[in-house]
């Protein structure tokens, strides 16, 4: 192939323009979705959770979460006379296949689904040295896996233990609040699969979202409020022993 100097002079800028559009990435999936109109969170109702593990399995299916790692998991707490301060907590395989049956009712039992709290002042994004993890303009903590180095600093920084290093990709991984679903008008996979409505996606910027009425009429807490993370996973009926 023979390329004249003149052709080369035309081709070079054309290639540069093409490369820049590659670097700029793909446009947003839903043209109707405006990030500035939303501020996402999650409502978790402890009194409704039956510990079936549907959310854990749904999350692993939806997000190709590797075996043995969890973006969401369910813990079962057992608080009795001997363990008021330090309750017995189990989570066999993340609660994926449910929990062992309890016959007698000594003390209190309850299930606590855990996931990324999508903190408004998240410790994990503050420590990232390269800007690979960030809070999106609609309030979801996300990871740019093409930019992540896999240093795992964020894994240590998360006070809720919600991050892990993906075993094959070797980059940080976590709950995206099903960002690929909520931007298309769907709810998250865990909410979709929850049979009792114990999990509900909440849009704090939407004045018609039932979350606002719920927050005003129920005893709602966040996990580890003393850490001032601005957590947006709101727990109804949360026991004081939950860590």
């Amino acid at each position: 192939m023979n390329i004249s100097r003149r052709k080369m002079l035309i081709l070079l800028p054309a290639a540069a323009v093409a490369w820049e559009s590659v670097l700029a990435g793909t446009p947003e999936a839903s043209p109707n979705y405006k990030m500035s109109d939303h501020w996402w969170g999650m409502l978790i109702d402890i009194s409704k959770c039956i510990g079936c593990g549907n959310c854990v399995r749904a999350c692993q299916t939806e997000n190709d979460v590797p075996e043995g790692y969890f973006r969401t998991w369910v813990e079962r707490y057992h608080v009795d006379d001997y363990h008021l301060e330090n309750p017995v907590v189990i989570s066999p395989d993340g609660g994926k296949e449910g929990f062992p049956v309890v016959k007698e009712d000594a003390g209190k039992y309850f299930f606590v689904p855990k996931m990324c709290n999508h903190c408004a002042d998240s410790p994990c994004t503050q420590v990232c040295p390269v800007g690979a993890t960030f809070i999106s303009p609609d309030g979801v903590v996300l990871i740019d896996q093409k930019y992540c180095l896999g240093c795992a600093y964020c894994v240590q920084a998360c006070p809720y233990g919600c991050r892990y290093v993906h075993p094959t990709k070797e980059v940080a991984d976590k709950c995206t609040l099903c960002y690929h679903r909520i931007t298309k008008g769907l709810t998250t996979a865990c909410c979709e699969a929850c049979p009792t409505g114990a999990r509900q996606l909440a849009d704090l910027k939407n004045p018609n979202d039932p979350i606002h009425e719920f927050l005003k009429t129920h005893n709602v807490q966040v996990l580890k409020p003393q850490m001032a993370t601005g957590a947006k996973a709101f727990y109804n009926d949360l026991d004081g022993s939950v860590r």
């Binding site: 820049e20 793909t26 446009p27 740019d144 093409k146 679903r181 769907l186 979709e192």
Partner: protein
């Protein structure tokens, strides 16, 4: 000018600095992605890339658009608030291509027991049974229609289009 008499090597050195800085600017221009800093200290295009990931759970709206008979049945019973894919699993592939991708009917022995096996750990108001005692080994759907599990609604077929 006597102060700068022997200073030519300093100017050469400064020139090197300027050159290195220009090289840095050029390299930086090509290596930092265009969308970095679009919304904050991160690659703005990553937001769109994550939003573009494929969906595996179709969402109950997609099911209800076609299976109107099941929805009608479901709305009459206690499972009205249970989404289709809570039991039937992720079926976006079926919703995208209903004629070729056929969902497999879930096994009620596993499915019903997962939620309704009695355990003191479950909330008190939630309906729970000892499966072995409750049905003496009969499959749940002998008496209950999973789409509307109340006993007053006699179980016919599992309800709805197969």
């Amino acid at each position: 000018m006597s102060a700068f008499k022997d200073a030519r090597h300093l100017f050469r050195f400064a020139g090197l600095f300027v050159l290195a800085f220009l090289v840095f600017l050029v390299v930086r221009h090509y290596y930092v992605p265009k969308s970095f800093g679009q919304y904050g200290h991160y690659r703005g295009a990553a937001v769109g890339e994550i939003a573009n990931l494929p969906v595996k759970f179709a969402g109950h709206q997609a099911c209800e658009d076609c299976h109107t008979d099941v929805v009608a049945k479901k709305n009459t019973g206690k499972h009205a608030h249970v989404n289709c894919e809570a039991c039937h699993g992720a079926l976006a592939s079926h919703a995208d291509d209903p004629s070729t991708v056929k969902p497999v009917l879930p096994d009620t022995a596993v499915l019903c027991a997962r939620c309704h096996t009695a355990s003191a750990a479950k909330p008190k108001g939630f309906p729970q049974v000892e499966p072995a005692e409750h049905s003496q080994g009969l499959p749940c759907e002998t008496c209950h229609n999973p789409h509307s599990p109340g006993m007053d609604a006699p179980a016919t077929a599992a309800g709805g289009a197969k």
